[in-house]
Symmetry: C2
Subunit: 371 residues, 2 copies
């Protein structure tokens, strides 16, 4: 009988989401998180793996745990409401783990929307929260549109700037439909993700023009330039192709996340990794987020909206594909399809991530369940 060791090896590297979730929960509880907060965080990280966004998945757990253990993030944080109006609220995240604070903030947005039609929550003193789409999607079962945005470390240069001043600042918007699956847009406002640049750098490959620039603000094809004062370009890449619009998007998200909340903005956003030190004398508190929920029946009868969204989705999906393209996608299609597939086959983890998890299990005296 012929065997397929490589295939078998691949199959053996797929892990059950429940196993991974349980592992995260155990590790986080060892760092002082409540069962509830540990579960919330684990769900967000495993959702990123399921949705094929591993850059925001279990790869992050190691930094989360380093920062919990050295006191840079508070394990027993209690987010506090510091300001509110009928449709708005400001939350002090008490320097808690991002997913814990963000989850609570989105619940407040939904509660506000239930009564006031819409709910808007600005968050200060939080930390890296994983995938923005997770929180926006929490609105969907309530027949609400969910929004989520967040600022991040200053890697992105405004148009005409030689310096990185803004983050890759993501925006997520989740819109419920009737018979069709929801539309879920979840994207960063930079031309490329930091992770992709770093991967090319590691592989010794050049990067095409239009993604990064040197510390002088000149176009660069060297992905290593980010380690030498270079920066990522905004969505649009150059002024000619509309980088000022990507810059506007990042600016708007920074203002909503940091200025409305009292968090740090632009160049002052604290690093989300443990090996970079925190700066002193920051103008705000921690990292900022902004969440929104809009009740659809606060605008028109829900059934009209849901059937309208079905028609919208069917219409866009049936657009004639461009030469060489297979089909026109609706925002959220790739992630939802990945989620369904990965839930069946299991989640594949990179060796680096497995090594990190194994090392964390050793440190925290948790049985390592992965082979």
């Amino acid at each position: 009988m012929k065997t397929y060791p490589n295939l078998l090896f691949l199959i053996k590297k797929m892990y059950d989401p429940a196993t991974l979730t349980q592992l995260c929960v155990q590790l986080l509880k060892k760092c002082g998180l409540s069962n509830n907060d540990a579960s919330t965080t684990a769900n967000v990280l495993v959702a990123a793996e399921l949705r094929d966004i591993p850059s925001h998945g279990l790869l992050r757990l190691s930094d989360y745990i380093r920062m919990l253990r050295n006191g840079r993030i508070r394990a027993n944080a209690t987010p506090k409401v510091i300001h509110q109006s009928p449709s708005t609220l400001t939350l002090d995240g008490d320097n808690g783990l991002g997913p814990v604070v963000a989850n609570r903030a989105m619940e407040y947005a939904i509660e506000k929307a239930r009564v006031a039609g819409s709910g808007w929550v600005a968050v200060q003193h939080s930390n890296h929260f994983g995938i923005a789409g997770y929180y926006a999607m929490k609105a969907l079962p309530h027949h609400m549109i969910g929004l989520c945005m967040c600022n991040a470390n200053p890697l992105v240069a405004p148009t005409f700037s030689a310096q990185g001043m803004l983050g890759t600042n993501p925006l997520a918007v989740a819109v419920p439909a009737g018979k069709e699956p929801p539309m879920v847009a979840d994207f960063a406002t930079a031309a490329i993700a930091r992770g992709k640049v770093d991967l090319l750098h590691k592989q010794g490959m050049p990067i095409e023009k239009g993604f990064v620039q040197s510390s002088d603000g000149n176009p660069s094809t060297d992905p290593g330039i980010l380690t030498r004062g270079g920066s990522i370009l905004p969505l649009g890449s150059s002024r000619k192709y509309g980088s000022h619009k990507g810059y506007c998007m990042a600016a708007i998200i920074d203002v909503f996340s940091a200025l409305l909340s009292g968090a740090n903005f632009g160049p002052f956003v604290p690093p989300s990794v443990a090996w970079l030190p925190l700066k002193d004398g920051l103008p705000g508190k921690g990292t900022g987020h902004f969440f929104g929920a809009l009740r659809i029946d606060a605008f028109l009868p829900a059934k009209d909206f849901l059937s309208g969204m079905d028609l919208w989705i069917q219409t866009l999906r049936s657009a004639r594909p461009a030469m060489g393209a297979e089909r026109v996608l609706i925002p959220g299609d790739p992630e939802r399809e990945a989620e369904a597939a990965n839930a069946k086959t299991g989640i594949r983890l990179k060796d680096k991530v497995k090594e990190q998890l194994q090392s964390l299990c050793g440190e925290l005296e948790v049985d390592y369940p992965l082979q």
Copy 2:
């Protein structure tokens, strides 16, 4: 004495904003608009001229008036509130002129925000409204952040689509500051404006790759391609450079403007020019808009926000410029500087626009005041 006839000619082609506003008012009143509605519309169009966005200025008046005169737009429209909650409202524009309906809608958003902390207004059955930034900026004197978005004729192809399915769907966000001027982002979510493509076509010039595609969805350098089934690309230009993000932005704006309001979406948005016919059997009512107002002191003390915005603006503005660039701009800087300059020197109009105005004056028996 030496004379400068060319310079003199140029100087003579600059017109006082008040004269142009008065001319618009007179012409619109002849079409049945009230003095108030005519003034509102004139202010929006002249603001576009002042802010150096002539594509949305007096050039539009001719189409507005054609459509008012043939009954396609209702001169004596009475926008009606058809749904509301404490922080939301849906407005039926009664097929009125876009600036009239949009102005009323933004006032509702501000009124809602005054009480509920935020106000969100979805508008159906409206028409082309000019520059989005005008309405967003109405929030500024109230110490509110203003938002405005609008869908438009389907000129833009989603990523992987050969067909134009969405509009250039603009987003405007105006944010008050303290001592600094406000931040006003106002941009379309496509890679290029239709007007720029048409101008190159008229001049017989090619257009660089990354802006338009053929009816097969292949890259094109022919600006005339739009007249032969071609389409404009979303912000980001290609999948590799993030066009799916521009597509997401346009999709979100379409959903907010049309699905929450009951207006027409995507390929069904009615044309905003008089020479293109209206289609029958549309799924919604007219063109859609969406407006928002957020009271800043519904999140934190206004003085903290305003001083924070001052610091944000000063920080971004003092970023080191890229090689060859003069300075880093804050969103809204170019338009505000143009406005100040044009208010002093007067507004220059293209011959084509002057001819249109002269012809309208003839038809409507209004004295033509421009030389």
